[in-house]
Amino acid sequence: MNIALYILFGIGVLFNGLGALALMRFPDVYTRLHGATKCTTFGAIFSIAAIIVYGFASGGAAQQTLAIHAIVALIALLLTNPTGAHAIARAAHRSGVKPWGAVVDKLEEKP
């Protein structure tokens, strides 16, 4: 049981760390958003999965409540994270940030 929790948390931390690394390695706002949204959402899914497993396996009322709250938080995160990324990307493009090394930019060509 503890080992399962450690594994879930480990995967979560790994992907969250990967998201932070992507912020430093990628060249511009759009590519950085790729790392910042996908990796943090996936990492959070595993961290929250660990909390849910812990909450329902340990059996106390307080822990079960914690697990239910974690599920609500996960749903909110899944909805707001991509929406926020989309808002940032749209705002960046509207204020004239060109994508780095773009092969093609259909939005720029849009009449």
Partner: protein
């Protein structure tokens, strides 16, 4: 009216979940139940047109989000193809973080979805899956402008970029 009721009920259930162990009536105290009821009525009045918008003719609220069959399909979609695509997306980002092999660009997709709900679902799915990020949406014909981290084709079909997602979004929301 229906939209108001549905929004209030959703808000009330959410409030109850968040205040879970507070008393003896069920699992809640009387104060929490009363506060929750008042707040969810307010939320229903404010947000009914956001959560359940009126349909194209402007007469009936669009309640298909409440259909249990659609919710079940949505759950199947989340656990099956979506989670798999997300896992692949993260390995893909990991690969690009390490090698820095980028070939970015913004391409245009025409998935041909008619409802706002379907477009939202597809746009959010695209953002969380391999190498793609929705930048802008054309409100009129539902075209999506997608930042693609590894452009293989400057004028791709929707299937090339996001696989079976448009079909799923259509099945769930139309």
């Amino acid at each position: 009216m229906l939209a108001f009721l549905a929004t209030s009920v959703v808000a009330f259930v959410l409030y109850l979940l968040l205040t879970l162990p507070s008393g003896t009536l069920g699992a809640w105290s009387v104060e929490e139940l009363v506060t929750g009821a008042i707040l969810s009525v307010v939320a229903g009045l404010v947000a009914r047109n956001v959560l359940f918008p009126r349909d194209r003719k402007g007469t009936w609220a669009d309640l298909r989000l409440l259909n249990p069959l659609r919710l079940l399909l949505f759950l199947v979609y989340l656990i099956g193809p979506f989670l798999f695509a997300m896992a692949r997306a993260n390995l893909d980002v990991a690969y690009r973080v390490v090698t820095r092999k980028l070939r970015p660009g913004i391409v245009k997709l025409s998935p041909g979805l008619t409802t706002d709900l379907g477009r939202t679902l597809l746009a959010n799915s695209i953002t969380l899956t391999p190498g793609t990020l929705t930048v802008d949406v054309d409100e009129e014909d539902g075209d999506l402008y997608v930042h693609w981290i590894n452009v293989r084709d400057p004028e791709p079909a929707a299937k090339q970029v996001c696989g079976s997602f448009p079909a799923w979004a259509r099945r769930i929301t139309q």
